[in-house]
Subunit: 380 residues, 4 copies
């Protein structure tokens, strides 16, 4: 019987085009062409529309992967899922987390022998999403469907075993809006930014609701075009989503724990209760299996492999009853992301954390709170 053995390696990058960490993993045999399933990382630069650091990294990493896998660059997306989040403001080290999945033959009886559940990963692509579906039910349903297939690919059946679902979906572009409107369709927004009415956040949020629908976090009956970015009581606690105008299909990479897994790693997650809630970050470490009461020891922290966190800006100007001006800060997009980086780093004692965000309000996590997932090494 086949069982998964998943590994995750975190490679700091010295520049947007630095593939030396990846190459070392390849040279050492830790990652092989047939085991590489995903690259998730933070690229340096401003993370804004006119940031070319992310684009350059994407081009270089795809070229490297194509060469590594011996396939054309255009085929890479079918085998390896890329989730590159731009912008490392503050104390976020530019890095790539490399996910490798091996299929191990184990005796049939052995599977249940492991008493604790371990990390598994699953992936799936979605059907094409035309521009008129972006940020609406069409996108929600297609992401939900892909999430279900990614769960299956991970070998998971219970949504409670799912701790992180990274999704990339199509956003809108000037060209795709024109296409939709030429066919008599409307689009969710003409704002191509990540502002509060931007197409980018509508796409991200529809994707988050798609995950929530697949995992039963939100009942299908509660969902409609009208709730997207309106009813913040509907949300996922495990979805981290992004969107890009250049994409036509959704992509899902899903992480969870399974008793069948042969991995040395385990994943957990929690949500912060508000924007300054360090305890929420610690809860994610606890959920993944770090043992501590108030603060984790250095020894426990050394078992931490990686943290994935969102840093969505709260829609309110109040934190614990006091006014903050973050919503009015012109640089809120960067500052919001940077603050999440500090909240996580001040707990983990390290700066190589995946922290994305900066947008205002989201169905990724509860109102005011943010999702934090952690991967820890259990043994080995």
């Amino acid at each position: 019987m086949k069982a998964q053995r998943v590994e995750m390696f975190v490679c700091p990058m010295a520049t947007p085009s630095d593939t030396s960490g990846l190459q070392q993993l390849a040279d050492s045999g830790k990652v092989r062409p047939d085991t590489l399933v995903a690259l998730a990382g933070k690229t340096e630069g401003t993370g804004q529309h006119d940031d070319w650091g992310r684009v350059w990294a994407d081009v270089v990493l795809r070229e490297w992967t194509a060469k590594f896998l011996g396939i054309p660059v255009t085929e890479v997306a079918k085998q390896v899922i890329f989730v590159l989040s731009g912008g490392c403001p503050g104390v976020i080290t530019p890095h790539i987390a490399v996910v490798a999945r091996e299929w191990i033959e184990v005796p049939d009886g052995d599977i249940d022998a492991k008493e604790d559940k371990r990390l598994v990963v699953g992936r799936a692509g979605s059907d094409a999403m035309p521009p008129e579906e972006v940020g609406r039910m069409g996108q929600i349903e297609k992401v939900a469907e892909a999430t279900r297939r990614a769960m299956a690919d991970a070998g998971l059946t219970d949504p409670r075993d799912v701790h992180l679902v990274m999704v990339k979906v199509p956003g809108l572009t000037t060209a795709s809006i024109k296409d939709a409107e030429s066919r008599g369709k409307t689009v969710v927004s003409h704002d191509l930014t990540f502002g509060p009415e931007g197409a980018g956040v509508y796409a991200n949020d529809a994707a988050a609701l798609g995950v929530a629908m697949a995992l039963g976090e939100v009942p299908e009956s509660a969902l409609s075009d009208e709730v997207v970015r309106r009813n913040w009581d509907l949300y996922s606690e495990v979805a981290m989503t992004s969107s890009g105008g250049e994409k036509r299909h959704g992509e899902v990479v899903l992480f969870g724990n399974s008793s069948g897994s042969q991995s040395s790693l385990r994943i957990g997650h929690a949500v912060t209760k508000d924007f300054i809630d360090a305890e929420g970050v610690r809860n994610a470490l606890r959920s993944a299996g770090l043992q501590f009461e108030a603060l984790p020891s250095e020894a426990e922290l050394s078992r931490l492999v990686h943290v994935f966190a969102k840093s969505v800006i709260p829609g309110s100007d109040q934190v614990r009853g006091r006014r903050i001006t973050l919503l009015d800060d012109v640089d809120a997009y960067q500052i919001g992301k940077a603050l999440g980086g500090m909240l996580v780093a001040s707990v983990t004692g390290r700066t190589t954390n995946y922290v994305s965000g900066g947008e205002r309000n989201s169905h990724q996590g509860p109102p005011g709170g943010n999702i934090v997932a952690a991967v820890v090494r259990v043994d080995g």
Copy 2:
């Protein structure tokens, strides 16, 4: 015999011109014209050169104070020290901390009866500092001299009892540079910004070294024009300094603990070991007298009156062995300040903290680390 009773009140501000909190203190009699000694606060806005929020707040607060004290606006600076730090990026609530000092008549024997030391405050102005002295030994020595007098005003003799020295000194302006050069003098910099060679940081850092000299943190023999912003091993652990082109004299307000004090408050301080060191913030709380092992309880935190913290950007691109890009972030000045705000808020569980900073490297605190001072209520 006279003894001090010092109180500190923290008033959130709803706009840069909001004096309602001050007015309430005045109306309730908690602050009287003869007890008001200092206003230290954070004003909203960007905190950059073209931020008018701080200027507006300064104008309005001086007008309010003049009216409260029944004196002309131009006389206010002689009686009340203003330390307004511009910029509340992220999770820093705009606010004013009001310092009031009362002189209590106590029986001579009583002073030593109190076994623990309590908060005292002292103030002093310095001699005028011509532009050629800014950022150089002249400024260092005059700040040192004023610091010594502020200690005396506080009734302190042991530098170890001093936990926070807030200083404002003259910086440079186009006009004052012209003045100096017309007299055949040179100035420390022609850069009027807070960049790494800016006149603003030279002035701030000379002021910090002045405090360090007065308190014996740095031997006078180690000081010269050449070490300012060059030898980072020379620093104060209690100086928080700022500069303004419009000033001609230095102003010092100094906080410490004295066994003679009749205050209900106590102050303490610590330095963080690096930019993500939450434990350094907790050490400041402990130093002031909060009782906890790993994390402070809500009950203990409710005794916290206020935190004053610097958030100077480290001069290195490494935090705990990993590269960060903060030095290259175009918005580093704001992001650096915002990150300090998060580090403190995630420990104190509140956003009304005084956090200034954003500049690169400083003699305020050790290389890479930052100063944190805390005031707590001991009884009452």
Copy 3:
């Protein structure tokens, strides 16, 4: 018979709170409490959400005006229309243009004696606009109605005599959205910024269409909620509009030329054909009456009193067939405004020009082009 005599004075401001220019006008008797009708100006600062320069200027100017008119601050808006546009990036000198209108008794026959038309000004307030009307037909119709009354107040009947209509209307706020939704109404946007789907630009653009409707530039039948910020072929060539969340009513100040006017000034306008069209600026000068073929002489320019220009960013990334990246510039809002300032200043040879803008696309002016109005001195 009564005839208007309108004067316009341009006062540079040294700070946001500088009323010295106004005071001089008052002291010299050039402006009297009964002649002051409008203040239109540019205030220094970033012009962004977190810019307090404009707010401070507004507070100070209203206080000055209240004192000058001998009325409470809250009554000022009923007598004097304020149009303060925040942000002077680049080569725009902070200033206030003061509009004074006197009613002169002239013999009945005299009116038509003047063969050329001269400057007149009219004002009107609109009915209250509830939040659900912002950016929609309700706002369009109420602005149209007020524009018609402002025309009547100016003594104008032919829309071709109208050259500039400055309008301020209510925008949306968190509070007003809540109010509307609590009454079962929807609002045009939840984005409170001036981004492409922001409430601010919807309000501005509905106001522009209101002007266009009143002046017959757009037939009423072409107007509906759906065309606002969608059909860019509908626009006004004379509307300069702005919005503020704090307002409940619209305010209109309208400038035109009338043969009945006893003014020494005349106004004209033109639209630029694209973002770099200096000839469009020159056409506005010609329209107002400056005499020149290719370039205006210094002597002719000395007759120029003031220029009012919009600098709306084109919705396309092409200028004369070449790609520009302005739409992607993170600072496009400021850069777009600054570029308009340069286009005008490089033609007028002076920096005291009223230039507002920075938003993307607008019904203020044709697609890609911008409105420029000029006031010149004809005699005196």
Copy 4:
């Protein structure tokens, strides 16, 4: 006898990695490996420290050139000079100007037959410049020496025939400062930015003074370490300089007109008298040979091949007697550059202009003014 025939081709770039324009030139034979001498261009992105657009473009263009020339990437700098200026804010189209030089055999008598002078180009590298020389006499002298050799390479002897000298020199880095100081040397600045005391502007300005010295614009006796960025009366009218920490040598590419040239192109230049002086731009077009009185006709403009302009921010806050706030604008670096782009585009009627700048004060051009050079087609 050998004579130069120089061509210049302007290729807009659709992205930082777009080499399609170059490839077309190569495919058509218009540029050959032995004729390619320089690439000068504007790359999109913010143009700030954390802008990766310029870096990416540099990498891609060097790779393309290496392949085109059939040499290793590391050898490219010896054969082709790259001047890539980052940042296309506003109305500056990202583009590359390709300079090709062919040596034509002409009969000895023929050279003087051409009565008008035509475009020639020369290049030279300088000796290595250690960090202690950056921004000082060492750098000035080495640039002067290289400029003289570039003149010789261009076949020019009279400095009045030189109209544009583009120079790249080493700047400072953390590493090179450490190197200098470890050898007991000082460096000109510890500020690595392009702020007013930044190492970058010191290097640029020393390079400009080097050009001025070589061309006799400034007497050698007037030059010393002390005058750099202090005495603004010393400047070049033809130097456009930049610096990079990664470089060890200076590189010079020099453009002028020679009666021996067989080119169809001619170059000219002028300086603007202040920041809004469109006439200064027109003077550059006239200097190059466009024929017009007030404004150039479309037909004349069609002969314009390219414009190279600086947009240095004036050190004063006054333009023609009025205050501007540009010096205080936080985004002055970008806005200043953008304004230069508008000034040129509003005259040339096109956006593909090379405009660099944004720094405050410079020895590139007179105080307050900027250099504009233009290349026009004379025949063919």
